[in-house]
Symmetry: C2
Subunit: 351 residues, 2 copies
DNA sequence: CGTTAGCACACTATAGAGATGAGTGCTAAA
DNA sequence: TTTAGCACTCATCTCTATAGTGTGCTAACG
């Protein structure tokens, strides 16, 4: 089993001890000593032997000791090695999955679904749940309707693939007849139906610039109206739903108030976190950022476990949980994985 | 100056010392001793004399000492006496008020205004800002429009006095002609325009029960539709906007993680806090709940300073700040007061 | 009578000493 | 390769002494 670049001098037995050590540390939160590890491993070896192994693991940078005479704790590299090669995922029970499926599936539109998924994540993991609102690039355009209101106001209704019905009242300089509006909405639905909102927006823009003069004036106006709605959509830079933030206050590992304040502030600020989540859109499964791996200072003592979820148009967003680095990966990873799958199903079954 | 029921044995001089002591304690956070108080008071008295006074104040239940040989700290009753009779409010500068006015006035509808006011509160006080969304009982009904959509769906648009435009798509069993809908909306606007949403709802309900048989069937249906919209309004039990929650993590007085978690959880749960805020609707000025006075356990170490704000229809909601009991009342009270006035102005100037 | 000085007392906070215990690294032997 | 033994390091706990802060009480003073 030639694993990675750090496995020099770390043979299979040492890896096993690393696994046992980390699992013990995840349970206890206390540095693990050689005597404890010897007992825990089940193999009939003396503490002295274990000490040699631990020495190797330390040299490889996988574990470290807080001070001379404490046990050892995993380093970031140690956790990385663990989640990459050593985890024994503990899959959810059928009944748990079903219960979750029901809990999630009740919601109506994209936003409500995301909120439910987020709540489910934080409930199950007792950490903070995080679900991106489906990105505009992945929401498909289904249908548009223009409705004349009193005066020169026009109501634009946008139906999208995630079940969301956005409506916006727009002030128009020009007046349209009922039939003109019908004509316009048929045109737009026929031409852009099935496209995602982002390419629709781009398409409209391009079309309007290139063919402005040759087109029916009403059509041009209609496209401008549609463009207006797509442009000022408030979630243009993305958004996410957070649940169970306060769960993080229970962890002794995260009890430093200043750190925790930074973390909470970063949740409120959203921008950086969205940037981080964007990175996970490409990966096609669970992805994990341990401690400083996220390269985002407020997350230094945390681990972020993410998974992308899909809709008809492909990957629509990312969800995940945030918790202390010392979390139960065996349990958390399957939860995130399953939640992503269930949310995908819920979104797809809309049509 | 016969003040209250607790002023037995607490003469004017003692009150002055109480004021000085509390102001000192608010600055320092340390128990105030007799020597310090003697120096701080400006009066040329020896610590021994002060000790006698402090002894009186302690007997009156206004101050207490954490242990035999620390100074004294205010009790809840002490704070209460202070805010009721001793505060020297420090009014905001003209320029500050103007800056704030601009900051708040940009918002469009009720919800956005509330959010801005909340942000202003937390920015200025460095504590948590809290603004109730205007209550339905105080939002006036301006106008309703029914718009036929494809199929049997009808879009109902509700324009209210706080500038909010709510719209909801409703599935109707019956089909209506365009003229029927126009007739219906004229009827509703004429009959209920200017009423608040809550009495409109009640009115509709009563009307429908008493005159069901004698009325035009279309009208009855229209009223049912309107009733539907008013009923499932999601903020039927109220809502509020919270800002600067994390500011509370900076206070040493609130550093107990378990307490703080409870506090944050209570913010997320909302229900109880709304209940508390409801109580403040009646008072016509700033109201203060110190520590256990709020009778809501998560607020035991906090003070809530509130003020009601108005719209055309009278008192519309309540705003305020939450912070540690040891807060700078001289500064905070005027801020809350002014913010409420500014928000009222912003809401009223809508029409 | 209000005010003051003086004194004994109570309590906290801090630091140092010593004991304890956990765990290591190293060495030599099996 | 594994193991036992031993010296060593370091954190933690307890006990003690000490300094500092502030009080309550009493007696004296104007």
């Amino acid at each position: 089993m030639a694993n990675t670049s750090v496995d020099y001098a770390v043979n299979e037995r040492a890896q096993y001890f690393l696994k046992v050590l980390i699992e013990h540390y995840i349970r206890d939160g206390q540095p693990v000593g050689s005597r404890t590890l010897a007992r825990d491993s089940g193999m009939n070896l003396s503490p002295a032997t274990i000490r040699n192994v631990m020495s190797d693991l330390e040299e490889a940078g996988l574990i470290t000791s807080p001070h001379t005479s404490a046990g050892r704790v995993p380093t970031v590299s140690g956790y990385r090695f663990f989640v990459d090669f050593l985890v024994s995922l503990r899959p959810l029970k059928k009944s748990e999955v079903q219960q979750m499926q029901q809990q999630i599936a009740v919601g109506a539109d994209g936003k409500a679904l995301a909120a439910r998924a987020s709540a489910a994540l934080s409930d199950l993991t007792h950490m903070a749940g995080l679900v991106m609102i489906p990105r505009r690039e992945q929401i498909l355009f289904r249908q548009i309707e223009f409705v004349p209101l009193s005066g020169s106001r026009i109501l634009v209704i946008l139906v999208t693939s995630d079940g969301e019905v956005q409506n916006r009242v727009i002030e128009s300089a020009k007046r349209f007849s009922e039939s003109q509006l019908t004509q316009a909405q048929n045109f737009l639905t026929a031409n852009y139906g099935g496209q995602d909102l982002e390419s629709m927006r781009a398409g409209l823009l391009k079309e309007m610039q290139s063919t402005r003069k040759q087109m029916d004036e009403v059509m041009t106006q209609a496209m401008e109206l549609a463009g207006l709605v797509l442009n000022d959509s408030d979630d243009s830079d993305g958004d996410f739903v957070l649940s169970g933030q306060t769960n993080l206050m229970g962890f002794h590992d995260l009890s430093d108030m200043t750190m925790l304040k930074h973390l909470f502030d970063s949740f409120a600020e959203k921008r950086q976190i969205l940037h981080l989540l964007d990175h996970c859109m490409d990966a096609d499964g669970v992805q994990i950022f341990i401690g400083e791996e996220s390269d985002y200072e407020p997350f230094d003592n945390c681990t972020l476990v993410t998974a992308p979820y899909e809709t008809d148009g492909g990957v629509a967003g990312v969800l995940g949980v945030v918790g202390p680095t010392r979390m139960d990966y065996n349990k958390v990873i399957p939860i995130v994985d399953v939640t992503a799958k269930l949310l995908s199903m819920a979104l797809k079954s809309k049509y």
